[in-house]
């Protein structure tokens, strides 16, 4: 018995008894799929919201603190009366 014959015989064994498809399979799959889609949409929205909030918070903080300006020196006193 060569390889092709063996594979054909195994295929035949596997194809012997087809299972009946339940009638509500499509409806259930659609229901679960819709739920998956809705959940993904919700997660995407929450992430966008978080990203926007982070951008706003950073802008407000930067506008108030001005982190790019040099802080006044703590060690050398300002020169006055030269």
């Amino acid at each position: 018995m060569n390889r092709a014959e063996r594979e054909a015989a195994a295929r035949q064994i596997m194809e012997r008894t087809p299972a009946p498809v339940p009638p509500d399979l499509c409806a259930q799959a659609v229901r679960r799929g819709e739920r998956l889609l809705r959940r993904r949409q919700l997660v995407r929205r929450v992430l966008w919201l978080l990203a926007c909030a982070a951008v706003v918070a950073f802008s407000v903080w930067a506008a108030r603190v001005h982190p790019w300006t040099e802080p006044p020196s703590q060690t050398t006193p300002p020169i006055t009366g030269w």
């Binding site: 594979e7 195994a10 596997m14 194809e15 498809v21 399979l25 499509c26 799959a29 679960r32 799929g33």
Partner: protein, 167 residues
């Protein structure tokens, strides 16, 4: 905007229904072979197929010409592999109450046999899907075919080697 979304959803539902009508029988048979359940009492296979179809439905708009059958089959195979892994710790043990035609095989052998022979997936693709070397898939497929055709030659595949490495 809302109208467009509604019409897109309706089209998706229509196309998906046609797809399920055409593909569900074959996929359910494959799932039943995987779980080694009897054709008339296959709750695990039905659940597996429902999840795979739901995943395909959720991906429907983003398929872009990809075959939905392929998508569902991939999800089915990887989900089955992962579920087996979680349930038994590793591949290698059969379920205690199987009575399908592939009941004598281990879950991994069933998975590879169904992918390679029943579904006709190429060896390289099956190997890539399961994260195994190609030669290993070839060997397991050969061994599974032999076990399927001559079941008496390997009476108890389950007890061999399990107690050797307790960890």
């Amino acid at each position: 905007m809302r109208d467009r979304q509604v019409s897109r959803g309706a089209r998706r539902a229509r196309e998906f229904e046609a797809f399920v009508a055409g593909a569900a029988g074959r996929l359910l048979h494959a799932a039943t072979l995987l779980t080694a359940e009897a054709p008339n009492a296959n709750p695990r296979a039905r659940r597996l197929l429902t999840l795979a179809l739901a995943h395909t439905y959720a991906r429907w708009d983003g398929l872009h010409g990809e075959d939905p059958y392929d998508c569902a089959r991939q999800y089915l195979a990887t989900r089955f592999a992962r579920a087996t892994w979680h349930r038994y710790g590793a591949f290698g043990r059969t379920r205690p109450d199987p009575d399908g035609p592939l009941a004598a095989l281990t879950p991994q052998e069933r998975l590879i046999l169904v992918l390679r022979l029943y579904e006709g997936v190429a060896e390289e693709q099956a190997a890539a899907l399961l994260g195994l070397p190609r030669e290993r898939v070839h060997t397991i497929c050969d061994r599974a075919t032999a076990t399927l055709l001559h079941p008496a030659s390997r009476p108890t595949p389950r007890s061999a080697g399990r107690e050797v490495a307790p960890s």
